[in-house]
């Protein structure tokens, strides 16, 4: 196996394994939710906040 191939394989594996290690370490940490609305996870965002407006009332 050439040096170039070894470097390439190690690099490819490193990218993937780093990503999986980082993501699972974050998943298992159970860190507090990122809170872009400053509302906090204990207070769910207002209905329709994702759309930027409150949806119309129930009509069907």
């Amino acid at each position: 196996m050439s040096t170039g191939s070894i470097v390439f394989m190690v690099l490819s594996w490193a990218i993937v394994l780093s990503l999986v290690t980082w993501s699972y370490s974050r998943v298992l940490k159970k860190k507090a939710h990122h809170d872009p609305d400053s509302i906090g996870p204990a207070s769910p965002p207002q209905r329709g906040a994702a759309e930027g407006k409150v949806p119309p009332p129930v009509d069907h």
Binding site: V20, K31, A50, G52, P55, V58, H60
Partner: protein, 532 residues
């Protein structure tokens, strides 16, 4: 939880494993090494990681976002999800693509999955022992499939394995999200990874024969950068990223629809993609091609790789196992891991369709599951009987290849451009455990749609039009006059499914009194949905 109540995932790890199980499929272990080897090794890997960054990961987030947004309105199916994004009468009909694709793919994919179940038993009981050449094993495989000259199996064998495989799928589906799919993923995914690690270690520790495992890895990772400027290499890597992550299928979105606003999708999405990539790059690249090079030499492996993924998995690997100690056990592990990779994907495919009938027509989950199972069985028989006439290849191209790009393009345009990038970005970050780098907003808004449109146009011109005009075969092989009537029937069934779903969508909207311009009722998700 009543039968028609909205479901929820049992745990976060269960959700990620189910999503990863959906993504990890046969392509991780059969298609990836073949594509890497055939497209210049290093050149392919460079373009592969660029496609992962610009196409795969953004699409993964977009599909989680589309799905969870649909779930706010209790829509676990694509027509409903698209209608929730775009308040226009046409939106729901665009979603018909997201109903036809999973149904058609489920039918032929389950049939292929049944081969892996059959071969795991054939391996365990050494049924193919004695077929020590590639040609001999291809004869054994075609005999099992019901054509070819050899008569190794009773005529009912493929039908029996297909029936059992389909029944297992439907049984899991009928048990629901947490009671069936999540439990399957919690058993299937660790088993798959353990079997794959054992096989990779066994293969990589093999002594030199006609070649060596190191030469096999060299075959994949050869830094041949001379092909980076070839469009075909970029398309091959983009296609592989597309298929491996199961995007454009409608199933990731259906799984995500069972999440609430408080649940993270940003970190879960990246964890799912990372799990899939580990299975593909680290494990998928370390088994089949290194084994083929070790036992057949570089030239032999090159010829095998060019002859197709199924020959690599179902002919080459059994020949290898016959030459190894405890080969029957290793063969059983190889085909079992393919079976688990397959079934964790196939159970996901009917989820959006099950959701459609439950949410819009109020059917019981068990009723819908077994009724869909009956439909899959009937149309699956066509694949078994007409396999040699290109029936399966036709579905695989229109639904399992081109259709995926069509659906992904539609949903990206609606979620990012119509729904607006700001809303898309906010949706992805609701309940998020990580902040997605701002650069991805730009990528999702401009780069990913452009990438998809490029693929769509290129494939449309180079493949779709010639295949539609029957100037070339969908499977890449020879197109004979004998095949053409069966290809027309194959396309006719897809058209039939499309018409049926258009009618059903229309009936559902009328029955429930939906107003396309007003949108759906937003369901209060507190206390239901999400991860328990």
């Amino acid at each position: 939880l009543s039968n028609n109540a909205h479901e929820k995932w049992g745990s976060r790890i269960g959700l990620i494993l189910a999503m990863a199980g959906n993504a990890v499929g046969l392509g991780n272990f059969l298609r990836f090494p073949r594509q890497a080897a055939a497209n210049g090794g290093g050149s392919f890997m460079i373009t592969y990681f660029i496609a992962l960054l610009l196409l795969g990961i953004p699409l993964m987030w977009i599909e989680w976002g589309v799905g969870r947004h649909g779930g706010h309105y209790r829509k676990g199916h694509i027509p409903g999800m698209l209608a929730a994004l775009w308040r226009h009468p046409a939106a729901k009909y665009l979603g018909v693509v997201g109903m036809v694709i999973p149904l058609t793919v489920m039918i032929y994919y389950t049939y292929i999955e049944s081969w892996t179940l059959a071969f795991s038993f054939f391996s365990l009981f050494k049924d193919y022992w004695g077929h020590t050449t590639q040609e001999g094993m291809i004869g054994y495989l075609t005999s099992f499939q019901g054509f070819g000259n050899a008569r190794e199996h009773a005529a009912w064998t493929p039908y029996a394995f297909f029936t059992v495989t389909l029944a297992i799928n439907i049984w899991v589906l009928s048990r629901g999200v947490s009671g069936g799919i999540e439990k399957l993923a919690k058993i299937g995914m660790p088993t798959l990874f353990i079997f794959a690690v054992v096989l990779a270690v066994v293969v990589l520790l093999q002594p030199e024969r006609l070649g060596s495992p190191a030469e096999g890895l060299q075959f994949i990772y050869n830094p041949d950068f001379s092909r980076v400027d070839e469009a075909s290499v970029w398309l091959a890597s983009a296609g592989q990223i597309f298929f491996t992550l199961s995007v454009g299928m409608g199933s990731l979105q259906a799984y995500a629809s069972y999440l609430s606003r408080k649940d993270d999708i940003a970190l879960n999405g990246i964890a799912t993609a990372a799990t899939n990539e580990t299975a593909e790059v680290v494990l998928g690249g370390s088994i089949a091609i290194p084994a083929a090079v070790t036992f057949f030499g570089v030239a032999g492996a090159m010829a095998i790789a060019q002859s197709g993924s199924f020959n690599l998995g179902f002919a080459t690997m059994p020949v290898v196992f016959q030459q190894l100690p405890l080969g029957n056990i290793l063969g059983f592990m190889w085909f079992s891991l393919l079976f688990f990779a397959g079934i964790t994907s196939s159970v996901a495919m009917l989820t959006p369709i099950t959701a459609f009938f439950r949410e819009e027509f109020g059917f019981r989950r068990e009723t819908v599951s077994w009724a869909l199972g009956a439909i899959c069985f009937v149309f699956g028989l066509m694949h078994i009987v007409w396999l040699q006439y290109g029936f399966l290849d036709e579905w695989d191209y229109w639904a399992g290849t081109f259709g995926l790009v069509v659906l992904a393009t539609i949903e990206v345009i609606l979620f990012v451009w119509v729904y607006k990038p700001e809303n898309m970005w906010r949706e992805l970050h609701e309940g998020a455990d990580i902040k997605i780098p701002q650069i991805f907003k730009f990528i999702m808004t401009y780069v990913t749609p452009a990438y998809l449109l490029f693929i769509l146009v290129w494939w449309g011109v180079s493949d779709a039009i010639p295949i539609l005009q029957m100037d070339k075969s969908a499977g890449g092989g020879e197109l004979t006059e004998e095949m053409k009537p069966f290809i027309l029937i194959s396309r006719g069934v897809i058209v039939l499914f499309t018409i049926a779903f258009i009618i059903l969508i229309r009936m559902a909207w009328k029955r429930n009194g939906y107003d396309d311009r007003k949108g759906f009722v937003m369901v209060d998700r507190s206390g239901e949905g999400g991860v328990a």
